[in-house]
C-alpha cells in the first residue's frame, strides 16, 4: 500500500472546479513533486489532503486509514504535516516556541520533551536565533520555522508548499540539503514548487497539474520534455 492514496478527490469554489476527480499516490520513501502553472490547483490539493479544506467528493487514505472526514488537527496528529506557501509564523512566540507548538500538539509531547526535541530540530535546520521573536527573523529563518514546526509533529507525510520561493540560490541549496536529509528519516514528502531546478534536484517523480487534473506524470526529466506539459506552461501555439 502507498503511504497516501487520494482517490478521485474533487473540490469546487463556486462554479470553478479547482481539483477535478484527481487520483494520485505517494509512496513510502518517496519525494513527489506537484507542478503546474498558476491556478492549476496545487495548493488546493495540499489543503484538501491536510484537511484545511474539505473535499466535495472522493476519498483520502493515509497509512491504510480513511482520513477523508477528519478535521485538520486530527490529520496532523495522525502524521500529515504541511508548510504554508506564505509563511504563517505565530508572532507572539520565539522561533523555538513556534517549533514547540508542533511537538506539543502534533505529537503530543510534554513541555520539556517538546523543548528538547525542538532544539534538536533547530540544530538539524541550522537555525541559530532560536530565542528571537519571529519579527526579527530573516525569510530563510521563517521558512525554517515553517519546516521545523511541521517536522516537530513527527510526520509520516510532509507537504512543502513552495518553500524555496523568495530565497536566493545559496539559501535554496541549503534548504534542499535539509529536505534531502529529512526524507531519509522515513518521511514521505510532497513538494509543490515553481523553481524547476529544485524539482529536478529533489523529486523522484512528478505529477503535472493543469486545471485540477493530472496531465502528465513520471520522472521530471521525462515529463519536462512532453509537449502537453510545455503547452500548459507556455500556452499552445495557434
Amino acid at each position: 500500500m502507498p503511504r497516501l492514496k487520494a482517490d478521485k478527490i474533487l473540490r469546487r469554489f463556486g462554479g470553478l472546479i479547482a481539483v477535478n476527480n484527481l487520483s494520485f499516490t505517494v509512496g513510502k520513501d518517496e519525494i513527489l513533486g506537484i507542478i503546474g502553472p498558476n491556478g492549476a490547483g496545487k495548493t488546493t490539493v495540499i489543503n484538501l489532503i491536510a484537511g484545511t479544506l474539505p473535499v466535495n467528493k472522493g476519498s483520502i487514505t493515509f497509512r491504510d486509514e480513511d482520513i477523508t472526514k477528519y478535521p485538520a488537527h486530527i490529520r496532523t496528529q495522525k502524521g500529515v504535516a504541511r508548510t504554508f506557501q506564505i509563511v504563517r509564523p505565530l508572532k507572539d512566540f520565539t522561533a523555538l516556541e513556534n517549533i514547540m507548538v508542533g511537538a506539543l500538539f502534533g505529537k503530543g509531547n510534554k513541555l520539556n520533551e517538546a523543548r528538547k526535541k525542538s532544539l534538536e530540530i533547530c540544530e538539524l535546520l541550522k537555525l541559530k536565533n532560536v530565542n528571537k521573536n519571529v519579527d526579527e527573523l530573516t525569510v530563510l529563518e521563517l521558512k525554517k520555522i515553517e519546516l521545523g514546526r511541521a517536522l516537530a509533529s513527527d510526520p509520516k507525510l510532509l507537504f512543502l508548499d513552495e518553500i524555496m520561493a523568495g530565497l536566493n540560490s545559496e539559501e535554496t541549496w541549503e534548504l534542499i540539503e535539509i529536505v534531502k536529509g529529512v526524507q531519509k528519516t522515513d518521511i514521505s514528502i510532497c513538494v509543490v514548487e515553481h523553481i524547476m531546478k529544485v524539482v529536478k534536484e529533489l523529486t523522484d517523480r512528478v505529477i503535472v497539474l493543469d486545471r485540477g487534473q493530472i496531465i502528465a506524470q513520471g520522472p521530471y526529466s521525462e515529463v519536462s520534455q512532453q509537449q502537453n506539459v510545455i503547452a500548459a506552461y507556455l500556452g499552445e501555439e495557434e
Binding site: A50, G51, T52, P71, A72, H73, T76, Q77, A81, R82, F84, R88, P89, L90, K91, D92, F93, T94, L96, E97, M100, V101, G102, L104, F105, G106, K107, G108, K110, L111, V130, N131, K132, N133, R149, S153
Partner: protein
C-alpha cells in the same frame, strides 16, 4: 528565587491587611479584589483572541444561582459559591457550542446580547427570582463580618491568579496563544481549536459566576440592574487594558491603580471618577497600547531578555 520575593511579600501583605487596615480601607481592597478577579478572567479569554463582553452576564448568573439556592433551598452560603461557579460554567458550556463558532466583533456582540438575554429572562421570572425588584437574602455571609468576607474574596482572587498562571505556564499557553495568532497554523499544528476555546470559555465563565456568587453573598441582595451592570463588564476591561493584556500582572496592576484612583475621585466628586476613568483609558490605549506593565518590566529588567522565557 529572586523573582518570587515580590509576589510572596504581596501575598503576605494581603493576608495581614485586616490587622493593619481599618474597615473602610478593607472594604476598598475587597472591592478591588472582586474586580481584579473579573479582569483576569476577561483577559484569559482574550488570550485566545476572543473579545468577550459577557463578563457581567456570567457574573450575574452566578450571583442569582447562589442567591436563589440559599433562599429557596436553604443551601449553605459557602457551598452556594460553588453552585454559582458551576451554574455559570454549565451554561457557558452549552452556549459555547453556538457562540464559539463566531469570531471577532460577532463574538463580542453576541456575548453582550447574551448578558441582556440573561437579564431579561430573570426579570420575567418574578416567582423564582423576584423579577426586577430582586431578592433579599435573610443574612449576609459570615453575618457580614468584613474581615471574613475579605478573606473569602482574597482566597477566590488568589485562586484566579493561580489559574491565570497555570494558563501561562503550561501547554494551554501554547494552544491559546497559537489560536490567537493564527488559527490555520494552530489547526495545522494539531491543535483542537474548538476544544481549547470551549475549555477557556467555561473556565472563565465559571470564575465570573464564582465572583458573582461571592459578591451577592457579601451584600445579601441581588437584582438584575445592579448585577448585570456595565460596571462588571467595563471596569474589568479597563483594568486589563490599563495594566496590560495577555498577562497576569497587567490586570493586577490595572485593578489596583484604577481601583484606588476611582476611590479617591469618588470622594472628590460623585461619579467624577467615571470621567477620569475614560481619560485614563483613552490615554493608555493611544500612547501605551501594551498597558503599563510591559514598559515597566522592560525598564526594570532590561530590554532584550524576552527570548526563550515562556512567561514573558
Amino acid at each position: 528565587m529572586k523573582k518570587y520575593i515580590l509576589p510572596i511579600l504581596l501575598v503576605i501583605l494581603s493576608v495581614i491587611l485586616p490587622f493593619i487596615a481599618g474597615t473602610y480601607l478593607l472594604h476598598i481592597f475587597t472591592s478591588i479584589l472582586v474586580f481584579l478577579a473579573l479582569s483576569l478572567s476577561w483577559d484569559m479569554m482574550l488570550r485566545t483572541g476572543q473579545l468577550s463582553f459577557g463578563t457581567a452576564g456570567f457574573f450575574g448568573l452566578g450571583a442569582y444561582a447562589s442567591a436563589l439556592i440559599v433562599v429557596k433551598l436553604g443551601f449553605d452560603p459557602i457551598l452556594s459559591l460553588l453552585v454559582g461557579a458551576i451554574f455559570s460554567g454549565v451554561i457557558a458550556f452549552f452556549l459555547g457550542f453556538v457562540v464559539l463558532r463566531l469570531r471577532e466583533i460577532y463574538f463580542a456582540i453576541t456575548t453582550l446580547a447574551l448578558t441582556h438575554v440573561f437579564s431579561v429572562v430573570i426579570r420575567n421570572l418574578p416567582e423564582l427570582t423576584g423579577g426586577s425588584s430582586g431578592t433579599i437574602l435573610s443574612n449576609a455571609i459570615f453575618n457580614g463580618d468584613p474581615i471574613k468576607i475579605y478573606y473569602m474574596i482574597l482566597i477566590i482572587t488568589l485562586t484566579v491568579i493561580g489559574i491565570s498562571e497555570i494558563f501561562k505556564r503550561t501547554r494551554i499557553h501554547f494552544a491559546i496563544n497559537s489560536i490567537r495568532n493564527d488559527e490555520t497554523t494552530a489547526k495545522s499544528s494539531g491543535i483542537n481549536v474548538f476544544k481549547y476555546l470551549l475549555f477557556v470559555f467555561v473556565v472563565t465563565s465559571a470564575i465570573q459566576g464564582l465572583v458573582g456568587a461571592a459578591y451577592v453573598q457579601q451584600y445579601a441582595f441581588v437584582n438584575p440592574e445592579s448585577t448585570f451592570s456595565l460596571n462588571f463588564l467595563l471596569l474589568p476591561i479597563a483594568m486589563a487594558l490599563v495594566g496590560g493584556i495577555y498577562s497576569t500582572n497587567g490586570p493586577i496592576i490595572g485593578a489596583f491603580l484604577l481601583g484606588l484612583i476611582a476611590e479617591y475621585l469618588k470622594l472628590q466628586m460623585p461619579y467624577g471618577h467615571l470621567i477620569v476613568y475614560g481619560l485614563i483609558i483613552v490615554f493608555v490605549v493611544l500612547f501605551m497600547p501594551q498597558g503599563i506593565y510591559k514598559p515597566i518590566k522592560n525598564t526594570v529588567i532590561g530590554i532584550g531578555k524576552t527570548g526563550g522565557d515562556i512567561n514573558a
